[in-house]
Symmetry: C2
Subunit: 423 residues, 2 copies
Amino acid sequence: MNDVVKRDGTEIAVDGARLWASLMELAQIGATPKGGVCRLALTDLDKQGRDLVVSWGKAAGLTITTDKIGNVFMRRKGRNEALPPIACGSHIDTQPTGGKFDGNYGVLSGLEVVRTLNDRGIETEAPLEVIFWTNEEGSRFVPVMMGSGVFAGAFSLESVYAAKDVAGKTVKEELERIGYVGTEEPGKHPMGAYFEAHIEQGPVLEDADKTIGVVTGVLGLRWYDCVVKGMEAHAGPTPMALRKDALQVATRIMQETVAIAHRYPPYGRGTVGFVQVHPNSRNVIPGTVKFSIDLRNVDNERLDTMDKEIRAFIEKTSKESGLEISIEQVSYFPPCPFEKGCIEAVAKGAKTFGYSTMEAVSGAGHDAVYMARLAPAGMIFVPCKDGISHNEIEDAKPEHLEAGCNVLLHAMLDRAKVASRKG
Amino acid sequence: MNDVVKRDGTEIAVDGARLWASLMELAQIGATPKGGVCRLALTDLDKQGRDLVVSWGKAAGLTITTDKIGNVFMRRKGRNEALPPIACGSHIDTQPTGGKFDGNYGVLSGLEVVRTLNDRGIETEAPLEVIFWTNEEGSRFVPVMMGSGVFAGAFSLESVYAAKDVAGKTVKEELERIGYVGTEEPGKHPMGAYFEAHIEQGPVLEDADKTIGVVTGVLGLRWYDCVVKGMEAHAGPTPMALRKDALQVATRIMQETVAIAHRYPPYGRGTVGFVQVHPNSRNVIPGTVKFSIDLRNVDNERLDTMDKEIRAFIEKTSKESGLEISIEQVSYFPPCPFEKGCIEAVAKGAKTFGYSTMEAVSGAGHDAVYMARLAPAGMIFVPCKDGISHNEIEDAKPEHLEAGCNVLLHAMLDRAKVASRKG
């Protein structure tokens, strides 16, 4: 990269205003009154968004291919077409009450990288690709990160084709309907490296007043469903000693979930987000309480220990209370450390511009987690306002988005190598 | 009463089979497939139930009067009509998934008392009355115990007339529609004493293997709405130290609610029955948790102490956590001790038949609570299966219902005095 960086202030830099304008234009498709975006995967709006991004890609001279799960690869030729492409990307589907930046920023910052290289007449050794993955959000169809997951072999094409939305429509028929079933077998696409720029979706960068998060990896997670069965009874006539209060027992486990996370800092996380009380009536002792447990850590051994501790606590609590308690793991992702070289390329890109940085760990899953199974991968975080995402008020500063895009540009050039330049 | 009780086994006793048959016949009106009853206040089914009970009352020679809130008084003449009547009763409206016995037993056991006295040609000094009160359950229209509450002056007639169901219909128009607006001013009805026979709706009698609960009073209660406000955030990206987890704080208060009840035995009760978590999503830290608190005790001083303790704990927890917590009392009933003479009349009635007894305290509210403000009052409890009520599987044994009715008969005679008998 040294050959393109001039320390006298003439480093290649993206056009932050053009990036912002594209983000705002794409955000019009599915725009909500509160300033957010609702563009669920494989809807008409998703098709409109895809068509717009593809048209921009074509205008930038990119070649488009689509695979059978609808992942779209937009390719810029390298001098050496035999080299695997240096890729970047994310997703453009959103949550029902989503924001303008989640995912969309990763795709459009890749497009801005290409536009910048075009403007400067820069050719890279390796080809570049800007990718958008199908149905990352998992709101309309489960599982989440569907397109990248199929690409990485985590799910079979057949199983996700059969996934249905609440109206009973399948992924396959909706993909066909919007015209995004490609011919390429998912995963049969070489990749030299993968970068994903993303808003942090958390408060750490803002809290620390840093511009760039150099992401070293993604937390592993274990999701559980827990059910405590007691006996519903009237709150008035039932003495304390004769109660089987499911909520009283469940709240002990909820407390312990958080306590476990505190025992494994700094990356231990423990959350109960969902609670369902039956019959949920003011003067009835709860008979059944169902709730979720979410445990995360950056280190697999620690995550395993957290798993053992919550299970042991539940067994002990069941014995002590005499109530039946079940715990079922419903999802598991091991921690995903990113490749050293990619992490360094991101750090170096930030240093080039003198951006303030900190090492960061992603608490949320991203398509990059699946890419890391196939190729060297890395991520770039930029702050988002109050750490809020998956919300119509999700917001980010243009200067932060521009900075992240500059880092993406230089990290990709670091990997793809500049072959020639006009300017 | 000694003049009518023969210790040689010829005590006056009710006809248990006739009582059971009437209970089963009334339970046909609004019968549910699971064996319960759905006969909500002031519906067509309530009218049918009222008409049936009134027709039985007329057949037994009773005089019917109705007051302006639809409470129905069925009167059997006494020798001295200047004496205030010795009354009994309860309600015939049910929960949406209610049982056959709750309330209905109190009314039909009163009818069986009258039928028994008619069969034996027994005349009492004081007149007797069998009453059913309007809308005790409060399912369709709030407040609960509406008819007896208006009678006792707890609510104004105007305020309850205006109460609406979910369809927007008012108590007044529904009362008029079913033809149960009487001319008598509520409360303008003398009462010498009031007895209410009822299934226990709790597990204590069954647990202790006793037939008759001699009810000494009703627990006082305080109901609260509690709201904890934190900040919703993604479960993955938000470190433990930066969280404002409303559920984590709310569960501490839920635990304390139960702990407080345990500190004031044997009649302390503490229940959280209702919980609402927002946004209630597996991977989102709860931003707001709303829940109910229900505290009860038999002694007003202890109930006050419990109130002070939960408020102090909430204040402390709010300071420690930095989260805003509100608590609002939404209902209050002071403890209601019954009149000594009525309690003794019940105990003596049970002794006459050699029934096993125990002193009991009602944890639930009953119309008798309001009657106790106006006249000497008492209650008779009989066991119900597994303590279950407000449920279609509510069940009670015919022999227990018969026993409770015999006790009611003798308690009423104890108060009304036998004037003459044929047999």
